[in-house]
Subunit: 450 residues, 2 copies
């Protein structure tokens, strides 16, 4: 039943576009789900895509454009004039329409809004454009079914019939008072099973989870996840019903957050995708590389103080990568566990002291095992027992220190309101490199009595 995207089909389609074979395009597209056509367009270039969408009904084109990823859409919309865009917007959900316009230059945006025929569509978009895209208001759509608490079931069904065109998926009807203040919710199932003259006030549920429009997107995600909701109504400070956020938007938010988190942990400073241009990709990567570089150069300066030691025992240099890499690995492991625990925690914070004691125990175990192996290995390779002792001791200390750093840094960042994910990745690696070097040369210096 699902459409399989194939190289052959894309090639056949491109030939059809070249040869102006509109019949082939229209026929093959007709059977496809708009989401599948979107996937096809991701494989075509902009003029080809425009050729295809011009042949499709406006509601399909609107759907396809809503599905495109942000960057592709931004590029694609450039070949549309404001008239064309204005005629597509009434076929989109208000949240998608607002997102699309939000990506455009102000002048173009204003032109399009002025050209929208449908007053309600225009008003909805203008309202939604006010909200920051990372808050509940920026995620919500205006399309919803609401019923006055004093209505009967039959009146409510009439209202659903009237609005059926605008709202493609209805799970619930929101119950409001005369001032549009949200009072509760009634499921479509309940309406279906109720008698025609039953009052909404008799069947609605007043226990309803809602969210204020200014709340941040992760708060929306948390609520939807916690209460297993399929949609959450958005209200203003006075409790007036403004719109609704559906779970499919939340799925997108969760996915984006996971991608962003990974990038932060990998030392990429702004959201990049593999198909971004070279300059943008470079700029996203350079800052953390430079910080790592400064760390490396600081380490070099630091080791300069020990040039004499290194001259006497060049073998000391051999174990520098072992010490720094272990510090980095331990630090990243510890910080990841802590970051995830901070992100997942919905309850109260259990005692930090207990956590840190546990981290220390884990570190002690790991450190003991590793330093025993390393001590044996260094002896076996014919180095002096003193050097083996220095390496093993330094490794031991580095594992303990890196564990502590990796655990405490995310907590501190979190307390300061900074994304704790910053604590994993280049930052922790660089810091641990320096700590590792300090410990290693410190231990060596005192043990060798240099």
């Amino acid at each position: 039943m699902q459409f399989e995207l194939s190289k052959e089909y894309i090639e056949r389609l491109q030939t059809a576009i070249e040869e102006n074979d509109t019949a082939f395009i229209v026929n093959t597209m007709e059977e496809q789900h708009p989401a599948d056509i979107t996937a096809v367009l991701h494989e075509l270039d902009t003029p080809e895509s425009k050729f295809v969408t011009d042949l499709l009904p406006k509601e399909i084109t609107a759907d396809i454009i809503s599905n495109l990823d942000d960057d592709t859409r931004k590029r694609f919309i450039k070949v549309f004039d404001s008239d064309e865009v204005a005629s597509l917007l009434p076929f989109m959900n208000s949240d998608d329409a607002a997102d699309l316009l939000d990506e455009q230059p102000v002048k173009f945006r204003e032109e399009v809004i002025a050209l929208i025929n449908d007053v309600e569509t225009a008003n909805n978009i203008i309202e939604l454009l006010h909200y920051d895209e990372d808050c509940a208001g920026g995620l919500m759509a205006k399309e919803l079914i609401k019923a006055n608490i004093n209505w009967s079931v039959i009146q409510t069904i009439e209202e659903i019939r009237n609005q059926a065109e605008n709202v493609d998926k209805i799970f619930s009807v929101y119950v409001v008072d005369d001032n549009d203040r949200l009072l509760g919710i009634v499921s479509v199932k309940k309406i279906l099973l109720a008698r025609a003259n039953t009052l909404i006030s008799d069947i609605y549920e007043s226990d309803i989870i809602s969210i204020e429009s200014y709340r941040e997107d992760w708060e929306v995600v948390d609520l939807i996840r916690k209460y297993d909701l399929e949609a959450i109504p958005v209200v203003n400070m006075a409790g007036k019903l403004l719109g609704v956020i559906t779970v499919d938007d939340v799925v997108d938010v969760i996915t984006e957050q996971a991608v962003e988190e990974q990038q932060i942990m990998s030392g990429i400073t702004q959201n990049v995708e593999e198909d971004d241009n070279v300059w943008r990709s470079t700029r996203a990567r350079l800052p953390w590389l430079l910080i790592g570089m400064i760390g490396g150069l600081t380490g070099a300066q630091f080791m300069g103080f020990f040039e004499g030691d290194l001259k006497l025992i060049p073998a000391m240099a051999f174990f520098i990568p072992l010490i720094t890499a272990t510090g980095g690995n331990v630090g990243i492991q510890s910080s990841t566990i802590m970051i995830q625990s901070l992100a997942a925690s919905t309850g109260l914070e259990s005692s930090y002291l207990l956590r840190i004691i546990k981290v220390l125990l884990i570190a002690l175990l790991n450190a003991s095992i590793m330093c025993t192996i390393v001590f044996g290995f260094v002896l076996l390779t014919g180095e002096e027992p003193k050097l083996a002792t220095v390496v093993a001791l330094a490794l031991f200390s580095v594992v303990i220190l890196a564990s502590l750093m990796g655990t405490i840094t995310p907590i501190i960042l979190d307390k300061l309101g900074i994304n704790p994910a910053l604590a994993s990745g280049p930052f922790i690696t660089t810091a641990n490199d320096l700590i590792g070097l300090g410990v290693y040369f410190g231990v060596a210096h005192s043990l060798f009595g240099l």
Copy 2:
């Protein structure tokens, strides 16, 4: 409207439990959403939790237990006897009930199943227990509303009324033939707006996205995300309707996948949580630490060949951390971008050659900037120009090589059917450490003509 979990409330509750003040517990719990009670239980110990749930109605307790995270639930269920568990299961969704039993020892599981009074509940659970938890069958619930294609709307509404007790959320009715084969879908909205004698065959939609029970969980996620579904029906190979997966299960899968991916990228080999015990946490971390350690020791052996060089120019050792850290950072950045691109790609693969050329361009830019700075710095600190040249050249090569490694390794792993996330984290860092050392000493050896 939402309940705020407070330390004060937890303390008050614990006092109430101690003092056997059941009235307080029942009264404060009555107003709370089961998901909020679940959060409360996460703060209590097992006997306290049991005391609380014993006071609550069975359907609330069933809900709470379904909401608990896996580890807490496993621990919590230990204080229930098989009779108690059997009496709770009919109040759970079949997928939650099966998940709960799947976590229990076989003997206990069999005991519970034998004690379930409701035949349908028992059969559903037995069926669901057959499926692996990571496949579509393992995610689905048996609760759904289906209508025969030959029924009228009024018959369908009767069916919904009969099943209303079992299915709390109905978005759609699945349309089947006499052999229970899935033919299509009809939304509750359409049923609500249709006349009583309309036939389902006249209003149902035959274009329906479904998934076979043996498919993997990420395939479920991809379909739900791509087509913005609120639920997806699960069928067997013959197209028979078996169950349904709702989007809230998918939200959980996405969240778990993101956590797992992060852990793999951080070198944690099995799913751990911050509250796992010390031994389990150690075992999860040790393997990658040991691999990193072996890498470090190999590096030490390798540098042994250059002991003479190090004796002559001890300053060479100063820049080892710079070279290895930069290699690691660049490698992690590149592999993360590639891993994300592999995960997100729903379309065809664009040419690998083009990608690699782009990666090279980005690497060239980053490398040029960094190596200019480093060259200047090393000169300024009074080292020989020759050493500055060696460090800068080595850094340049390492950035290029680490970028290539970071880009190509995930592609190869992906082709081999291994999770490409393995390519980011300790693996890539260790490999890049060794490459970095090789390049550094190689360049030095040839340039100094040692």
